[in-house]
């Protein structure tokens, strides 16, 4: 022990090197605990998802546009089911309307409608989605765009639900 050490070190001599040494058994114990935590985490994800689906009410229907508002090949932005959920209503032909969530399924950038290519395009990371189905055509997104279910009541277009 160095002469400059405080006096209490003589009373409590701890070999810090040995104290910090981790044996393989201790390391494997730690890994096993991590394994248990990962198993619990996976189970919690399932429980949380089940609980969320039970609690989430079916979104109420909402009138989003009238037929004459949108030209063929046109697009209208609306929010459904909450004000924090931007969506796009597209008119593909005279009586063919589709609507999707505007949040890209990659990292939630807003997608834009490209009429010429008939695609929904995410400019952030070059994701491409099919207009007819919302399926991923190219790019980093892995999940389809959530589709907004529509109902036509006379001249009114109603959003009636979300299909993930």
């Amino acid at each position: 022990m160095a002469t400059s050490d405080p006096h209490w070190r003589a009373d409590f001599p701890v070999n810090w090197e040995d104290d910090h040494y981790v044996t393989r058994r201790e390391f494997t114990t730690f890994l096993t605990l991590i394994s248990g935590a990962l198993f619990l985490g996976t189970g919690l994800v399932g429980l949380r998802e089940r609980w969320r689906r039970r609690r989430a009410p079916h979104p109420a229907a909402m009138r989003i546009a009238q037929v004459h508002e949108i030209a063929i090949g046109g697009v209208k932005l609306f929010h459904y089911p909450t004000p924090d959920d931007p969506c796009l209503l597209l008119r593909l032909s005279t009586d063919h309307f589709v609507a999707y969530s505007q949040k890209c399924t990659h990292l939630s950038c807003p997608v834009v409608y490209r009429v010429r290519e008939q695609q929904l395009h995410c400019p952030c990371h070059e994701g491409h989605f099919a207009v007819e189905t919302g399926q991923v055509l190219a790019g980093p997104p892995r999940r389809v765009l959530p589709r907004i279910l529509l109902a036509l009541k006379g001249e009114d277009i109603w959003a009636t639900g979300v299909e993930v």
Binding site: R24, R25, F27, T28, T29, L31, T32, I34, S35, G36, L38, F39, G41, T42, G43, V45, G46, R48, E49, R50, R53, T105, R142, R143, P146, V164
Partner: protein
Amino acid sequence: MAVHNSHPTNHNAQRDTVLSLVTAFVVALLLVQLWLLAGAVEGAMGGEGAIILPATFASGLCFIGAWRLWFMLQRRL
């Protein structure tokens, strides 16, 4: 003089090898569980809840495997 297999040096070397192998197996199981957790979260976010239960079951099997290996380590080695 021939060195018997029960020579302390050989026994320690064998035990060290088995210890290392068991640790490597547990690490491999952990990586699989990480992958399963990532898949479960991805499925939950994407509305594909059907994969969460199989992922949880597989993760449970991995945990049981890791626990058995750990138990063997504590008892026998």
